[in-house]
């Protein structure tokens, strides 16, 4: 068996999972399983939320060690699922290492839903959360507009490569501003608070938070705390953005300007 390719495959699988938002123990487990297929003495994987180290060693071969730095994070549960599937098949000998490597390279680029469908997702979350929080039909219309603004804001911040903190703050800022101005001019009488709450839902770090808890439970304290901090920072960014939007609105309409 080609050890080198096996290690490459294992690390690639781990990298995709880590970027897509899998828990640390799942990533380590996957890499471990794949590496163990080589039947060497030592097969170790150490995974942090920011990087992967994998090593394969045996008296009969030169040690193979691969380190991979992971900087981006892009939640994609489908990729986690697909990689999990590949590793299952590989370990059950339903797939060769070469096939698995090719398949993983495909998975790295798989996108299930078109961008527009995701934009609909943002609008949907905003609309249906407004409904859950007790909004009526008018509120839902306003939420749809706000959700659309959020989708556009997301795209803009991706395009100009805004860092995460600023991107979240920027999106939250626009959400607050749009909703408050809609309340003033577009659809008077809407409940601006629940619309803002609904629209910031996609930004609130629920996924990272869940993963952080499960990492901590599994004893991956370094990654667990790192992710908790990440979640707190995102929550702060969203809060700062909403706060700035509301502050600006009050300042614009609060007597300094005559409208």
């Amino acid at each position: 068996m080609n050890d080198k390719l096996l290690v490459e495959t294992a690390v690639l699988a781990g990298e995709i999972m880590l970027i897509s938002g899998a828990e640390i123990f799942r990533v380590e487990d996957t890499i471990d399983h794949i590496l163990r297929k080589a039947g060497r003495n030592t097969a170790e994987a150490i995974v942090f939320s920011t990087g992967i180290f994998a090593s394969l060693n045996d008296p009969s071969i030169e040690a193979i060690t691969v380190a991979r730095r992971v900087t981006v994070r892009n939640t994609n549960l489908n990729r986690v699922y697909l990689v999990n599937d590949v590793s299952r098949k590989l370990c059950a000998d339903l797939m060769t290492v070469e096939e698995a490597f090719e398949r993983l390279k495909e998975i790295r680029k798989t996108v299930q839903f078109h961008k527009r469908l995701k934009d609909m997702g943002f609008m949907g979350v905003a609309v249906f959360f407004t409904l859950l929080l007790g909004g009526n039909a008018r509120d839902c219309v306003a939420a749809a507009v706000t959700g659309a603004v959020l989708a556009v804001a997301m795209e803009i911040s991706l395009k100009i490569r805004l860092n995460d903190f600023c991107a979240n703050a920027f999106c939250a800022f626009l959400i607050a501003l749009t909703t408050l101005f809609l309340e003033r001019w577009g659809l008077p009488g809407i409940k601006s608070d629940i619309i803002i709450i609904g629209a910031i839902m996609p930004l609130v770090p629920g996924v990272i938070f869940t993963t952080a808890i499960r990492d901590t439970l599994n004893g991956d304290y370094a990654s667990g705390t790192a992710r908790i901090v990440e979640a707190v920072v995102i929550a702060l960014a969203v809060a700062a953005g909403v706060g700035a939007g509301m502050g600006l609105y009050q300042w614009l309409t609060g007597g300094y300007f005559i409208w």
């Binding site: 939640t75 997702g121 949907g124 859950l132 993963t211 499960r214």
Partner: protein, 139 residues
Amino acid sequence: MVIQTVGAFLAVISFSLILELPKKYLILSGTIGAVGWLVYLLVQAAAGSVIAAAFLSTLLVALFSHIAARVCKAPVTVFLVAGILPSVPGASIYRSVSYVISNDPVLSSHYLVETLQVSGAIAMAIFIMDSLFRLGKKK
């Protein structure tokens, strides 16, 4: 109640689109989320506590997610993440900030504490279910 449950179902599915949930599990995860939200509403009405509601609904969502994951041979995260979404304390975070802006530190800290309590309750619920399902599992 019916509208709320359907709303939760659709909200979870919309969120799943953003998270790129595997297509074939969209309906299942939406259902888990909707059941979770129904429990949330019932507990909130019965006990009058947001924290208890978040705790019990997350407990149920986590249970279903673990079962679904085992049946479908898919990672638990796939179902768990979207399912807990309705109980995430977005509203408390928002109110906490909004009272900071309107200069009301008492209400602001009240909602800040509520945010922490609800997140703690969700964390606890996931934690408990995870531990239960790890019982007897070989390392």
